[in-house]
């Protein structure tokens, strides 16, 4: 039954540009998808490894800026994508090595510090990043000769990547390594006593998480054809964390729901509500206080209670 629902949902998603009217909404759908990839990547750490990060926008940004620079240097898209992902993995390894020196709050604060350093570099190291003015990208890639310039084509390309991301997450979760990662979240001490190398497990999870954050960053760059320090600000990391927490960290689709919520609110609601940051903060506070397990599990809980109590 669940699989049927999942298949239907994926089919509907695939056909979005066909049944949604207007490029504005197709573009929002694209945003939802690549932010979902970002949120899924973060959830590997937050939900499965139990490590909360406030600096992942840094990895998102490293990928975007690296690709932008490579393209600006006159190289092709393939070089940009490969170069960006390679550098992102390297950065993820460095960040992980530093952040894993702490646990719990310590880990969070170190990721915060790292994120701020990346932001500081993006903002101030003007010779590399062009500072506040950002870097523009002249054209989207044309994989296999199909141009991604139109919203519909870009959406389908993003959708394809999204499918790969979700599939990789599903495989990861069901795998022995995935079980090891969750084990380190629940009983790190016990895992060590059972022969697991907890540090290395967390490190690899960080790399996996960083990779998908980098992929999301690339999609972001190609979507906007522009990157600026705003992409790596603390608000960006906070929004990404909100996507993960609001949707629910314990499920595969939670981060997707959360991304949909935050992106929709940000784009659509901001047309009606002036104060997006206020709303973002308020939702953050409300979810943390009232529904800490996230919207998806929370909604399931409410649904069960409602149907159980009803006549």
């Amino acid at each position: 039954m669940k699989r049927l629902a999942l298949g239907a949902a994926l089919a509907i998603l695939a056909a979005v540009p066909l049944w949604i009217d207007g490029t504005y909404y197709v573009n929002i759908a694209s945003q939802i998808l690549f932010y979902s990839i970002f949120a899924l990547g973060i959830n590997v750490l937050v939900g499965y490894a139990g490590l909360v990060t406030l600096g992942h926008a840094g990895l998102f940004g490293v990928a975007a800026y690296t690709a932008a620079r490579i393209l600006g240097g006159g190289h092709g898209h393939l070089a940009a994508v490969l170069g960006a992902l390679a550098l992102t993995l390297l950065a993820a390894a460095l960040f992980a090595g530093l952040a894993l020196r702490g646990t719990g709050i310590g880990f969070v604060m170190i990721t915060l510090a790292i994120g701020q350093i990346v932001w500081g570099v993006a903002y101030r190291w003007i010779s590399i990043t062009n500072g506040d003015n950002g870097i523009s990208v002249s054209a989207r890639p044309s994989p296999f000769g199909l141009s991604l310039a139109s919203p519909a084509h870009f959406y389908w390309a993003t959708y394809a990547v999204f499918l790969v991301a979700i599939a990789s997450m599903a495989i990861f979760v069901a795998s022995p390594f995935g079980a090891s990662v969750r084990g380190t979240r629940d009983q790190a001490r016990r895992m060590n006593a059972l022969g697991y190398q907890v540090w290395l497990i967390r490190f690899l999870a960080f790399l996996f998480s960083g990779f998908w954050s980098g992929v999301a960053g690339l999609l972001y760059l190609y979507y906007n054809q522009f990157v600026s320090p705003q992409a790596v600000a603390l608000t960006a990391s906070a929004e990404a964390l909100l996507m993960v927490i609001s949707g629910g960290t314990a499920t595969l689709l939670g981060p997707v729901v959360g991304a949909a919520l935050v992106v929709t609110m940000k784009n659509v609601a901001s047309a009606y509500i002036e104060r997006w940051n206020f709303v973002l903060g308020a939702i953050f506070v409300a979810i943390v206080v009232f529904m800490p397990e996230g919207l998806v599990p929370g909604a399931v809980r409410w649904w069960r209670r409602a149907t159980a109590g009803g006549r």
């Binding site: 069901a174 390594f177 079980a179 090891s180 084990g183 060590n192 006593a193 059972l194 697991y196």
Partner: protein, 245 residues
């Protein structure tokens, strides 16, 4: 060659000397009981032996191999398993999954990010067999949250046994159990095969005495009395340590 030997082991926390030059040698197949009042340093000693804590001095050897500098996570691979005084099972999982995770810890499969854990029939069958050995196969698919404290304690021990250890360290396995549960655990512990060297920490002497062949009495981080069960029980120092506190 002893199964487990500890020489001049020392550990301080801040200014407090918790383990004060402890010497210990447990022979292969032996059943050793380590007792002592609270604060004697028993759990710290276990922590040092398993590698969770790093000693300030001294050495630890496992079947003649010096493991003092060996990382904690590697020691189970060398044949050392332990249980914890506070039950540390994986809360959201079934008993079967708990034992499976224990078996996975020693298997190179644990690094595999693409296989499906559910499909590892051999592993899962092995886990079920381990649960049968401790009489819990009926509860294999029960989540931990729906089991009793005594059952969880037996799963703890099962998880350690699952790794086929050469040396098994049991940290207060009877803590918090009812009389009947203690009998179950005692039965479990006494049926551990003789090729497993078993070292148990206990605070409560009554239940553990049946199990012990040799007893080491710790007090304030030092070995005060050591010998066979009858020797230690008869020794006036033992009584003084327990009654004098």
């Amino acid at each position: 060659m002893s199964a487990l030997a500890v020489r001049n082991l020392r550990k301080s926390f801040g200014g407090l000397l918790v383990t004060a030059s402890v010497n210990l040698a447990v022979e292969s197949g032996e059943r050793r009981l380590i007792i002592g009042p609270n604060g004697a340093g028993k759990t710290t000693l276990f922590g040092l032996i398993t590698g969770e804590l790093r000693p300030d001095g001294g050495s630890i050897t496992l079947f003649g191999q010096d493991i003092t500098r060996v990382a904690g996570w590697r020691r189970p691979h060398l044949g050392m398993s332990r249980t914890y005084q506070i039950i540390t099972l994986f809360p959201g999982e079934t008993l079967l999954r708990n034992v499976t995770l224990s078996l996975l810890g020693l298997s190179p499969l644990r690094w595999n990010p693409v296989a499906r854990l559910e499909r590892q029939r051999g592993l899962i069958a092995h886990a079920r067999e381990v649960l049968t050995r401790v009489g819990l196969d009926g509860l294999a698919d029960r989540p931990v949250a729906q089991t009793s404290y005594g059952e969880r304690r037996r799963v703890e021990i099962a998880m350690a046994l699952a790794q086929n250890p050469k040396v098994l360290l049991l940290d207060e396995p009877f803590a918090g159990l009812s009389l009947e549960e203690r009998r179950d655990v005692l039965r479990l512990v006494t049926t551990i095969p003789r090729d497993v060297t078993t070292v148990m920490i206990e605070h409560d002497m009554d239940v553990a005495l049946d199990f012990a062949e040799r007893i080491t009495v710790l007090h304030l981080g030092e070995v005060v009395v050591e010998g066979t069960r009858s020797e230690v029980v008869a020794d006036p120092r033992t009584r003084r340590i327990y009654l004098g506190e």
